[in-house]
């Protein structure tokens, strides 16, 4: 199996984009989802959005005017990536819990 671990930033961006959001909206949503723990910096987010669009995991919604803030939304491929990651995380948690219980 190829390594499929997503970075925390990518994982949360994908989760936040089940409804369309612009950059600042993504940052705020992730911060509130993680109860303030994950604060994505704007430059890091910008880079991540670019690579995720390239990968086809998210897409920019066609804006009406140039001044309008660009909104993004998750794609079918992106949803597959999130589901795979969720399965991986569940495995990590399950193994962690069994190991700790055996202690």
């Amino acid at each position: 199996m190829e390594s499929t671990a997503l970075t925390e930033a990518v994982y949360y961006v994908l989760l936040s984009l089940y409804t369309p959001l612009h950059g600042y909206g993504i940052m705020q949503k992730i911060e509130s989802m993680s109860a303030g723990r994950v604060r994505l910096a704007a430059g890091t987010l910008y880079g991540a959005l670019g690579s995720m669009v390239e990968k086809g995991w998210i897409k920019a919604l066609p804006g009406e005017t140039r001044s309008r803030k660009k909104e993004y939304v998750i794609t079918q491929q992106g949803q597959t990536a999130v589901k795979q990651e969720l399965a991986r995380l569940k495995e990590l948690v399950a193994n962690g819990e069994t190991s700790l219980k055996m202690e």
Binding site: T7, A9, G23, R39, A42, G43, T44, L45, G47, K69
Partner: protein
């Protein structure tokens, strides 16, 4: 009231430059304009602003850079100005903490961008110093030797800049083996 301070930072001290600008902001002097070794500050409430700077991927006038600057403005940051490829932002501390990078990977990418500068200059000074040494050997002219020596000194300086930045990058890489 505005206050202008002349100060020079080496390429590898961009983080010290940012720290200094934030010390000034903590004292109530907030960066309003940048130029060559020149910083113009304006009076604001002490600690009201946080400053961040970064080297852009492309020239500031490039559409990609413009897009990036607009993106940052949409997140509540104010664009102070650009100096060559360097861009300066500030954000009111009321609007929350302000960072440009929140993971090691994007910090490494930023350093890679900066590393290109001494690399290109080093290639230029090194190749030219060789060709001037060649000329000196051919003509036995002291002027040629002087140019060759000057270029060699510049090459050493570029090498030093490269090493300083590369060490920063190594430290980040070491972190990234354990943390995301």
């Amino acid at each position: 009231m505005q206050k202008t301070i002349h100060k020079l930072f080496w390429l590898w001290d961009f983080d010290k430059e940012e720290a200094w600008l934030n010390e000034m902001a903590a004292k109530g002097l907030v960066l309003a304009e940048v130029g060559y070794a020149r910083y113009v500050f304006e009076d604001k409430a002490p600690g009201a602003y946080q400053i961040r700077l970064e080297m852009l991927q492309k020239q500031p006038s490039h559409p990609e850079s413009q897009d990036y600057i607009r993106f940052l403005e949409e997140t509540g940051a104010e664009h102070i100005g650009t100096f060559y490829s360097w861009v300066y932002f500030r954000k009111n501390t009321n609007e929350g903490s302000f960072d440009l990078f929140s993971d090691v990977e994007s910090r490494i990418k930023h350093l890679n961008r900066i590393l290109v500068i001494p690399s290109i200059l080093l290639a230029f000074t090194l190749l030219n110093s060789y060709s001037w040494i060649d000329r000196y050997i051919e003509n036995n002219d002291a002027g040629n030797l002087a140019v060759a020596l000057l270029l060699s000194v510049l090459s050493l300086f570029m090498m030093y800049a490269f090493i300083r930045l590369f060490v920063k990058r190594l430290k980040l890489k070491k972190d990234s083996r354990l943390y995301e």
